[in-house]
């Protein structure tokens, strides 16, 4: 079972819910931090990282000894990553989407396989929590390939929790694709609501069931609650504003460890998720252990 934590707006508490939920369960669970542009879960989980690998994508390199400058590779490339001039060929690896079209069309076998470094993947553990995140190389524009790589680390059985990036476009879609459930963490403010509406639209387009966690539920107004009722989105948990929580977070501490009531709150959230989305049938999915 894959539960993703998303929001639309940044800073609403995605990482807080993902990390604290994972630890509160006290059972084997895989936590994937798919916010590869700004991964933060490790700052709170503090896992022991035991494996680090660079992640590359395939990009073309032109063998000028074989190239006849026919231009077929340039023609198929939708991303302007290859430029063929009368007597030379240029590649722009940072524009390449790794579709492989240039390799397929070259009649001379002059397109060679090269690589572009996208970032790194790090794997570790903290107690029963198995942890994986990707760190996009600073200066690299494309997050989705690295997100797909991190997503491959989801376990086939057992529970995987995904900490998704903010926004509603391709990185979010890549992180959420194939999830069994998305928990949208929001706040009851105009920005929170506007971005929630967009994120819920993305969730609907992917046909994924959704529930809400309303953070800082007593700040702002009631429009998020009205939206939830209108859209038939279950409110799984409401968390009141607490300055102590904000300070505990600032220091990088897990709330389930610093504030005892959080452990019960996170376990209640998980119980509510099971009851709301997985009650009756699919009992294999209910087993979070391996």
């Amino acid at each position: 079972m894959i539960i993703s934590i998303a929001s639309g707006k940044g800073g609403t508490g995605k990482t807080t819910i993902a990390t604290n939920l994972a630890v509160a369960l006290e059972e084997p669970v895989t936590l994937l931090d798919c916010d590869v542009e700004e991964p933060n879960a490790h700052l709170f989980l503090k896992p022991t990282l035991y494996r680090r690998m660079d992640f590359f994508v395939e990009v073309p390199e032109i063998d000028l000894a074989r190239c006849t400058f026919c231009g077929k590779c340039q023609e198929i490339c939708q991303f302007n990553a290859i430029g063929i001039l009368p007597d030379t060929a240029l590649t722009f690896p940072e524009l390449c989407h790794s579709c492989g079209g240039c390799f397929l069309v070259c009649p001379e076998g002059a397109v060679l396989s090269s690589q572009r470094l996208m970032g790194t993947v790090e794997i570790g553990d903290r107690g029963p929590v198995h942890f994986v995140h990707g760190r996009l190389r600073v200066g690299e524009a494309m997050a989705p390939p690295l997100i797909r790589r991190v997503r491959q680390e989801a376990t086939d059985d057992g529970l995987t929790i995904i900490d998704a990036p903010p926004g509603t476009s391709c990185p979010v879609v890549t992180a959420l694709w194939g999830s069994d459930l998305v928990i949208m963490v929001t706040e009851p403010t105009p920005f929170g609501l506007n971005d929630l509406e967009l994120a819920v639209g993305a969730g609907r387009a992917m046909n994924i069931p959704m529930g809400l966690v309303i953070n800082r539920a007593d700040m702002g107004d009631r429009r998020v609650h009205d939206f939830a009722a209108r859209e038939n989105l279950p409110i799984l948990l409401e968390i009141p504003f607490d300055r102590n929580v904000a300070e505990t977070y600032a220091w990088g501490k897990l709330l389930v460890e610093a504030l005892p009531e959080w452990r019960g709150m996170m376990r209640a959230l998980f119980a509510r998720i099971q009851e709301e989305f997985f009650a009756g049938g699919v009992d294999r999915n209910l087993e979070i252990g391996r």
Binding site: K9, G101, S169, N194, A250
Partner: protein, 293 residues
């Protein structure tokens, strides 16, 4: 003309609230919302839309069922697993690379241009605003960011306005990189939390990568003073211009609920602090780019 792009790395540190406040205190300016995936600036500025345009970018493959002979070649070529076993392209997964369309042996694949969203030119109480709305689960946000910024620049030039104030996206990827090109400076608003600091370091490194001068402001400072101060120190060491500390206050949220910028809501200390910040920033940016008024 000078463009200041407000970034943060981490989401929710106060980019849009800050842009709203600086807009309210500024003049001779064009405002630009470059967070096209989750645009919020309009919620503070109540824009009156003057012009609305469709945004097309990239293409998407569509298999014509009546002509497809189901040979299965496209399934092998597609590296994005966008084509189902029954030969339907999933628009959410299609990357728009065109490989299937170019190579289909019976030419059964169309490749129409993609309608990815809309963009707008509006007027607000603080000056013109260029903003956009990316379609649900769409791609090409980087191109849309480039487009709204170009339009903001065009408007500023046409009207002889000195400033462009751009609300940037979170993160460090494609839309953020698109929001930086040719800007005069970035203003990074962060918070004294482990994640705020971590993300600041990455987005500041990105500004360095593009040789863009970076100004740093710490919001919600009293959440964790030792870290707020260590961010100041980090800026001094790295050569980023440190712009000061803002308090942790509910005034930003209260203003937002009323659809106002914080300086319209709370006209006391915070307003004078932000006014001072805006003036200091403008002076520093003018000095960095002399002769571009």
């Amino acid at each position: 003309m000078h463009e200041i792009v407000v970034l943060s790395g981490k989401g929710g540190t106060g980019k849009t609230s800050l842009v709203g406040a600086l807009a309210a205190l500024g003049e001779h300016q064009v405002l630009c919302d470059a967070d096209v995936d989750a645009a919020d600036l309009h919620l503070l500025l109540s824009p009156r839309i003057l012009a609305r345009h469709d945004f097309y970018a990239g293409h998407q493959a569509v298999i014509r069922e009546d002509q497809c002979v189901q040979c299965g070649e496209c399934l092998d070529w597609c590296r994005f697993q966008a084509i189902s076993e029954d030969f339907v392209v999933n628009p959410i997964l299609c990357e728009g690379c065109g490989v299937c369309q170019a190579l289909c042996p019976v030419g059964a694949i169309d490749f129409p241009e993609n309608h990815c969203g809309e963009w707008f030119i509006s007027e607000t109480r603080f000056g013109p605003l260029v903003h956009a709305r990316l379609g649900v689960a769409e791609e090409n946000s980087g191109k849309l960011v480039t487009l709204v910024r170009q339009e903001a620049r065009r408007l500023a030039e046409a009207n002889g306005l000195e400033w462009i104030l751009t609300d940037g996206p979170p993160g460090i990827g494609c839309p953020v990189i698109s929001s930086l090109g040719d800007a005069s400076a970035v203003l990074i608003i962060t918070e004294p939390t482990v994640s705020g600091q971590h993300d600041l370091e990455r987005v500041a490194a990105l500004a360095d990568h593009f040789r863009m001068p970076a100004f740093v402001l710490v919001n919600k400072s009293d959440l964790h003073w030792p870290m707020a101060k260590s961010i100041h120190k980090f800026c001094d060491v790295k050569g980023y211009h440190f712009m000061g500390y803002l308090p942790f206050t509910t005034a930003f949220t209260q203003a937002q609920v009323e659809g106002k910028t914080v300086v319209e809501f709370d006209d006391n200390q915070l307003k004078s602090q932000l006014a001072e910040l805006g003036a200091k920033l403008r002076t520093a940016v003018r000095q960095l780019n002399p002769g571009k008024e």
